[in-house]
Symmetry: C2
Subunit: 453 residues, 2 copies
């Protein structure tokens, strides 16, 4: 019998700690700044928004942080997640490279977001919080947090970017199934939302706007906190369970990746798979390359500017040092799937600046082509977001073939596309247009950034 | 740390053989008959429709049949499937019973149908077949066979019951993603379809009609065969991988079911989980009860008649001894989800007749209520079909509580509901009406059965 293409771990091999890359970064990230004083803010400044345990994780320099038993219990239901060698995909493109993928779609809500949703809901519950507000774009994050909040008995209010709310009723209904209240954003529930609607009643919304709305509600009540699904250090921390498992799985496969690839929105799935391998580069002198793949219509890492900017449109967050398209950025409506946030997480931004990782942008049609090829060969219909990672992996394999070499490629298949079938329909019908944001357009949006004097 | 609620098996524990219950049945099933001569038909009569290896399995009396390596290789990608103890569901209803479920939705196409789809595609490919035709109702079977045919390089033509084709574009698109051609049935492609459309241009279709269409195409070409997703002996055989794994998992859990429950359409998911446990009753004197749960709108086991009837509407199949509502049965449009076939598989029919299993029918709203409770407690959004099994399990737990006893309940969670979100939407909006087919209505449909003289 052939060797299985699945590389499994036993329940006992689930890592018991999250990995915090800050401990190993040669250049530590710059501090968040108060928007008016421009002084570094302390943990207390975040207390209105997040529970204290998550704030501690946000600013921690400890290398490893224990995963609480209650979180591990829920991880055990769907973790360890499987890794596969994509032999059928390899055969289809005739590559001599080896392609591996870690599959994070096999849980309740169908994406890696579950890993941090469980942790965030747990810490909020533990500190007596009754209600959480959040934003969601394509809906993976909202679904994951809905499941987790419902499990821990927390109310959840989700501001869903309006264009997705309209185009993806499936995700909204999944959130409803998990007891969450879902509101299209911009909404009239908040000052931030009303301001946007006054200027543009047809605003398709953006993650930046939805974050402003969710934060505005959260700060009004001490028993309500806000929760973010990507970007922040503690979110990336929770996702490192992916890469730590992947390290063990590559060892079981008797292999090691030459390149690790993740799609890129705010950075959480990429950080999750990459950070533990980046540590191997730093500490054990490995030479793996790390590649983020973002949409050409939202090119923050490839064309954005490294600067202090707000994390949300209304300017409620501290100023964060990151690659950004400007906090007023509104992505084109034609863009399918997530990965639409205007900025990149602080850790990834610093690592990109320091040359630890590479960034590339791709058009969506080519990514869907890769996703359909993947479904036809490997059997899993990928989330539109994950298609960017697939396309990145195919690029690496083809490049290696042209160079006459064989590479070991690992990518993160961050979620399934069961609720994104309307995007696939558009693709099959030839109605999925490409869009590339030009450098001039990026400069124009960045020049519009207004920071407080 | 708490004990995990997941009961896992290792890859090595995947059963290497399917279990054939015919070997252990005290009363063997009656033979299929030629519709005109009323003589038992031999295997050759099926050769125009199925490959020889599947025909051999259909009529086999061997207790165990080896699973080919090529099939096992694909099983290994998603098997063993997990079993869970539903502790959160138990807590929510405050039962003293223990509820376990086997989850078959964690594979490519999201249901147990994958188990037989892989096997059927494999045997067809091995015998040089180029193209397969099939029917699908809600779309689980069509999706599973699309994946499997694409994997083995076979063309697939799917006749999809029109009402589902219209209501569930997601399933159609998933099949397209796997390269299959999908046609709404009744269609104008076949004589059988045209006849129906002449009488009723707005026919919502039925599985019986779709089977007739698929068979009509298959018999016209020696390199085209037909494939069925439930009902037949070889289909139930392939599904026994579920119950055999479940036996091992119950042993690991240090428990044994007092009752085993499956939803019921043609019988494949129920047979899959139940047959290996029924063997334990027969051979090892276990006292487990076996309960099928079918929709009140399609009550073949609870109100149908045990008789010889056709498996399809046009009368192309042999006559089969089964519980049936009559091969002209067309289910009410309001019914959500699958489980709409007019007849029951021959093996299950005989076992019901002989008192090995119990049958019950339930209204769909109560089943959806159970499904939403399940999603909110256990985290998985179930297929509408699986909701019937959940509702059956809840009934058993509540009955035991009333009796002041604790039972060990095992049910088959046959699939996820990611592509059935429109049915949940109707449920949440209060637009999912109940319907019960009365005994008089059943008698009326059965009296219309026309068998050849």
């Amino acid at each position: 019998m052939k060797k299985s293409t699945k590389i499994s771990l036993s329940e006992k091999e689930i890592p018991r700690q999250w990995y915090n890359i800050v401990a190993d970064m040669p250049n530590k990230p710059l501090p968040p700044l108060h928007p008016v004083t421009r002084e570094p803010i302390g943990p207390d400044a975040l207390a209105a928004v997040f529970p204290m345990e998550l704030i501690k994780q946000e600013v921690s320099a400890e290398r490893y942080i224990d995963i609480p038993d209650e979180v591990l219990d829920l991880y055990k239901v769907y973790r360890p997640s499987p890794m596969f060698r994509a032999v059928n995909l390899e055969k289809a493109i005739g590559t001599r490279s080896k392609i591996y993928y870690k599959y994070e779609g096999g849980n309740y809500s169908g994406s890696h977001k579950t890993n941090t949703a469980i942790a965030q809901a747990y810490y909020n519950k533990k500190e007596g919080i009754k209600r959480i507000t959040t934003e969601t774009g394509a809906g993976q994050w909202g679904s994951a947090l809905s499941y987790a909040c419902n499990h821990f008995g927390l109310e959840l209010l989700v501001f869903m970017v309006r264009v997705s709310y309209t185009q993806k009723p499936g995700r909204k209904l999944l959130m409803n199934s998990y007891n969450a209240k879902v509101v299209p954003s911009p909404s009239t529930m908040t000052e931030a939302g009303r301001k946007i609607l006054e200027k543009d009643p047809d605003s398709p919304g953006s993650l930046g706007i939805a974050i402003s709305e969710a934060m505005e509600i959260a700060v009004q009540d001490p028993y309500t906190k806000y929760s973010l699904g990507s970007v922040l250090n503690h979110v990336c921390l929770h996702q490192t369970i992916i890469g730590q498992e992947a390290l063990l799985q590559m060892e079981k496969a008797g292999d090691y990746p030459d390149v690790v690839i993740g799609c890129f929105g705010g950075g959480s799935n990429f950080s999750g798979i990459a950070f533990p391998f980046i540590r191997e580069n730093i500490v054990n002198d490995r030479k793996t390359r790390f590649v983020t793949v973002e949409p050409s219509s939202c090119p923050k890492l490839t064309k954005g500017k490294f600067m202090y900017d707000f994390g949300d449109t209304a300017g409620m967050t501290p100023l964060l040092p990151m690659f950004t398209l400007g906090h007023n950025f509104v992505p084109e409506k034609i863009h399918a799937g997530g990965l639409r946030y205007h900025g990149a997480g602080v850790l990834v931004s610093q690592l990109l600046k320091d040359g630890f990782i590479e960034a590339k942008a791709k058009m969506q049609r080519e990514c869907f082509e890769g996703g359909v090829l993947f479904a036809r060969t490997e059997g899993i219909l990928p989330a539109p977001e994950s298609n960017y990672a697939i396309a990145g992996a195919l690029d690496e394999a083809r490049k290696a073939d042209l160079e006459g070499i064989s590479k070991t490629i690992l990518f993160n298949l961050s979620g399934h596309g069961h609720f994104d079938i309307s995007s696939y329909e558009k693709y099959f019908e030839g109605n999925l247009p490409d869009h590339e944001m030009t450098t001039a357009e990026v400069e124009a949006t960045i020049s519009k950034i207004e920071l407080p004097d």
